[in-house]
Amino acid sequence: MKASEFSSISDSRKRRKAMEFIVFLFFRISALICSFGLVIIVGFIAVKGLSSITWTFLTQPPVKMMTEGGILPCIMGTIYLSLGAILIAVPIGVASAVYLTEYAAPGRLLRAIRLGINNLAGIPSVIFGLFGLAFFVIYLGMGVSILAGACTLSALTLPVVISSTEEALRAVPQTYREASLGLGATKWQTIYRVVLPSALPGILTGTILGLGRAAGETAPIMFTAAVFFTPSLPSSIFDEVMALPYHIYVLATAGTEIEKTRPLQFGTALVLIMLVLGLNLVAIIYRSKLRRRK
């Protein structure tokens, strides 16, 4: 090979490297936009909302047609709804995941169940709202209530709980199961005494994620549980409630004085963000610790 050929090869290599640099710049910019999107949204709302968050804001109900006062009923409502949803979704979700990972043999049934879960995960949240209205509120006669809202939200969080529980169960080493079966334990004893306890941290992570998801949803509770305003805190699961996400929507779009209540809107949004992101942060940190341990 002549020297000129060598130099042309290295020239082309240089050109290709330059091209790579430029394209990679786009990759980096995209990643920057994605991560900054979060920072910008949360940052804006934090800056504008922080001044609204006072002790009164967190511990008092709204007053004067919701133009002043606090958001206590909304906070409590969101807590009731999301806890209720999780109380229903976790037992069903964990049991489903146990069946899928421990019992089910590959075949038509398994594929059907998986299809059901995947499609449930892909249903728009407003459809859950319609379903909740037609089924829980009207057909089962629960009325617009915490119970109906929690049931609707549980249908929505079920796939989250199932998939994280499955991940947790799959991470339990096969040798644990074999050792337990080898000692003469039955399958159920093995699941109950060995598999579930080792998967517990992972299941907890899924529960926290589901809780965050349920707390932030608006559309499913619009027709099933949430109302503009209630003068008192709910006294039973058949009462309707106020909820943080719905309160933001109402204040921002249908309040009597939309501009005047901006600080309240930002404050409510900030409380909701802190609640949901806080839950997710806990779950993400916990999970990355778990994954690293393996």
């Binding site: 489903s96 892909g122 728009p124 079920l158």
Partner: protein, 311 residues
């Protein structure tokens, strides 16, 4: 003595007949609970159909889907959701134009060029982004983005097709990034090393080897992201502007299907025509997202999806 103990052992085991029976019962209970998801799905379909079908006594399915006028409260009312369907498709399409490049490039960055340290910061940030409540993103679009757009382009309203698409893109990027990244990360190392050994640059390796090898996962991610944008409710309810017309520009207000359902259900008289029409709109929305999900399912058949990003 030895034989005696063996015999008693055998007796004990055989008297434990109930054990396998109990196991069977437990297994059956788990199976029943596991079918809960299918049952829920079936109930959703059943109740949507039951509450939606009665509208077709008033108007034909063809009129309902292709009718251009949506005046559910006029007298006589018009129940044509064509403008709503177009609005849903348009916001999904425009948001995809933003979210697909952004999501896939970010995934490539995370899986291929980010240092482990950066990856550990950006990946959780993207996951957190996915968990941001949609009402908060809608609120952001309404209060902060809309005035900016209004000033920048001199518009009558900042609540329009473009703003809604932008906010929806924010919502689907995390889905796209997260699932694509899993797919890209799962490409076997050997393929990559072979390409390097042939003298390809990293970019050439990404374009010619890594993307083709992970394309089914990336396609799944894109479709699920689009499905999410299509079904997202609060963002379009708060930001899209709400006009039930077929838009003539990117900056016209629109009324996608979820927005229409969410906004009108509270006022629709119980089991009136309007109420049934909204459920029927729900059926259309459900079918469209179902098609998206089935396509995603088909594509990802070879490639098993891991992680919670789809949920």
């Amino acid at each position: 003595m030895v034989s005696g103990s063996t015999e008693s052992l055998i007796a004990a085991i055989s008297s434990g007949e109930t054990r396998p029976r109990k196991e069977k019962i437990i297994r059956f209970i788990f199976l029943m609970i596991a079918t809960g998801s299918i049952v829920t799905l079936a109930l959703i379909v059943l109740f949507l159909v039951a509450e939606g079908i009665p509208i077709f006594k008033e108007t034909s399915p063809y009129q309902f889907i292709f009718g251009k006028l949506w005046y559910p409260t006029s007298d006589p009312p018009d129940f044509g959701i064509f403008a709503l369907i177009i609005a849903s498709l348009l916001v999904t399409a425009v948001s995809s134009l933003i979210s697909i490049p952004l999501g896939v490039l970010t995934a490539l960055y995370l899986a291929e060029i980010a240092r482990p340290k950066m990856r550990e910061i950006i990946k959780p940030a993207v996951e957190m982004f996915a968990s941001l409540p949609s009402v908060v993103i809608g609120f952001f679009g309404m209060v902060i983005v809309a005035p900016l757009l209004q000033d920048a382009f001199n518009l009558a309203t900042g609540l329009n097709l473009f703003n809604a698409s932008l906010m929806l893109a924010f919502m689907s990027v995390p889905t796209i990034t997260s699932i694509s990244e899993d797919a890209i990360f799962a490409v076997p190392r050997d393929l990559k090393e072979a390409s390097f050994a042939l003298g390809a640059t990293h970019l050439e390796t990404i374009v010619r080897v890594i993307i083709p090898a992970s394309i089914s996962g990336i396609a799944t991610a894109v479709i699920l992201g689009m499905s999410r944008a299509m079904g997202e409710t609060m963002v379009v309810l708060m930001v899209a502007g709400g006009a039930a017309m077929i838009p003539s520009s990117l900056f016209d207000p629109v009324r996608p299907m979820p927005a229409s359902i969410a906004a009108e259900m509270a006022e629709a008289p119980f089991r009136g025509d309007h109420y049934h029409a909204l459920f029927a709109t729900g059926i259309v929305l459900f079918l469209i997202t179902l098609i998206f999900n089935i396509i995603a399912e088909r594509i990802s058949h070879r490639y098993r999806q891991v992680g919670e990003a789809t949920l």
